[in-house]
């Protein structure tokens, strides 16, 4: 049986009203207790049900805007060739050290069938010092269509109750822009497409921090990897 104090924390966690420190401590407890994790999930769903209480109807025109934005994002840039071109680009980055960026861009230009051609910037991320986790992280970023791909090899999984989160450091935004959480598989690899929630026209660097499970709306954890193009 879970003690009442942990049950209290589970309820507050489900409502999202714990402080960052309290949430972090609770997530450590979650990672170690399957029964507590089950209760937390049920309470989160109970909290979510509260959203059914207010009545209202979304404006009909909003659906078209949402679907239009999604479709527009899918059509932005050269969607047909960009994924495999990025994959090819990243495979080269991860397999051969010291590849010249200009050579990569030439390869992407040659692979493109679209006109006009977007720029693709390559960022190699590394840890600040020897204490950072090992592994290789490369980000390919197309600022024109605001999409990118992060490829990770040989990075250990995040600690229980934690997630790696990608951030874009943009010259026009004082705070890092959330680009989503990234989870590695059993081999420490990940290959994830991302699209930041906020437009980032002048990305100077990408970084990966360690955040509470599920990520944070603002960076709260330590930077483990960062890199400029």
């Amino acid at each position: 049986m879970i003690d009442e104090e942990l049950q209290d924390q589970a309820a507050l966690y489900a409502l999202g009203i714990l402080s960052a420190g309290e949430a972090e401590a609770f997530e450590r407890a979650l990672a170690a207790d399957a029964e507590l994790a089950t209760l937390a999930r049920e309470l989160r769903d109970a909290a979510g049900d509260l959203a059914r209480v207010p009545e209202g109807t979304a404006p009909p025109a909003l659906k078209a805007r949402v679907l239009g934005e999604i479709a527009g994002a899918r059509r932005a840039g050269p969607p047909v060739w960009l994924p495999w071109a990025l994959a090819a680009c990243l495979a080269l980055c991860c397999g051969v050290l010291g590849i010249q960026q200009s050579r990569l861009r030439q390869q992407l230009l040659a692979a493109s069938e679209a006109d006009p051609l977007p720029q693709v910037a390559i960022y190699s991320l590394s840890g600040p010092d020897a204490s950072a986790p090992g592994g290789r992280i490369t980000v390919a970023w197309a600022p024109g269509c605001q999409r990118g791909r992060v490829q990770i090899t040989g990075v250990p999984a995040a600690a229980p109750g934690k997630d790696y989160q990608l951030w874009a450091v943009d010259a026009e935004h004082p705070a890092p822009i959330n680009a989503g959480i990234v989870r590695v598989d059993n081999q420490g690899c990940a290959n994830v497409d991302f699209q930041p929630g906020t437009r980032a026209p002048h990305v100077q660097a990408f970084a990966i921090s360690l955040e509470p499970l599920g990520g944070s709306s603002q960076k709260t954890g330590p930077i483990l990897f960062s890199g400029k193009d």
Partner: protein, 193 residues
């Protein structure tokens, strides 16, 4: 028929298809989630235009992160609600505002309060409507002090410390009220109460 698990099974199938890029599936998911999420945004923001903006951001985020949905963490609806609430709070903090303090029972000034949409399969719509009615009944059935604490926690951006201060109650009492009330809200958790 209220069947949260059945509703979630439908939502899960749709979000898995959306994660594979199926816009038709995402369109169906939008139909299922948009009304309660919009009503939530409107209740918390108090402004229809802002509610529309935030809801649009939320659904775009749902689309982009569909592949990251983890069923071990919550239902699809719970995940979407959490994401949407974060968007609401982010919007207000960027503008340096606090959430409008939700006062229980103040539907009178809600300009968009309407009957839920009838889009989608009729039987499924009825199911979701009955689920919503079930949630409202369970909330109303709570002791008033539990309902008050939960509504302040969910529809405002107050911390549990601030709720205790606002209600003039010890922190431990507030935490216990929230816990007991939330446990009663969830079908199948009766053994915990």
């Amino acid at each position: 028929m209220t069947d949260p698990d059945g509703q979630n099974a439908i939502d899960r199938a749709l979000i898995e298809r959306a994660a594979r890029g199926e816009q038709a599936a995402f369109s169906q998911l939008y139909d299922r989630l948009s009304n309660p999420l919009y009503a939530l945004c409107l209740r918390m923001l108090g402004d229809a235009a802002e509610a529309e903006d935030v809801l649009q951001e939320a659904f775009v985020q749902i689309w982009r992160n569909a592949a990251r949905y983890d069923p071990a963490q919550s239902s699809v609806f719970g995940w979407s609600v959490h994401l949407t609430r974060c968007k609401v709070i982010d919007r207000l903090r960027r503008r340096g505002r606090r959430l409008r303090l939700y006062v229980p029972g103040d539907d009178a000034d809600d300009p968009a309060a309407r009957v839920a949409s009838s889009e989608g399969d009729a039987a499924d719509t009825v199911g979701r409507s009955e689920l919503a009615q079930s949630v409202r009944r369970r909330l109303l059935d709570l002791p008033v002090e539990q309902r008050q604490a939960i509504e302040l926690a969910f529809f405002s951006d107050l911390s549990h410390h601030e709720i205790a201060s606002r209600l003039g109650q010890p922190l431990g009492s507030i935490k216990a009220r929230i816990r007991r009330g939330l446990l009663k809200m969830r079908t199948g958790l009766e053994q915990w109460t």
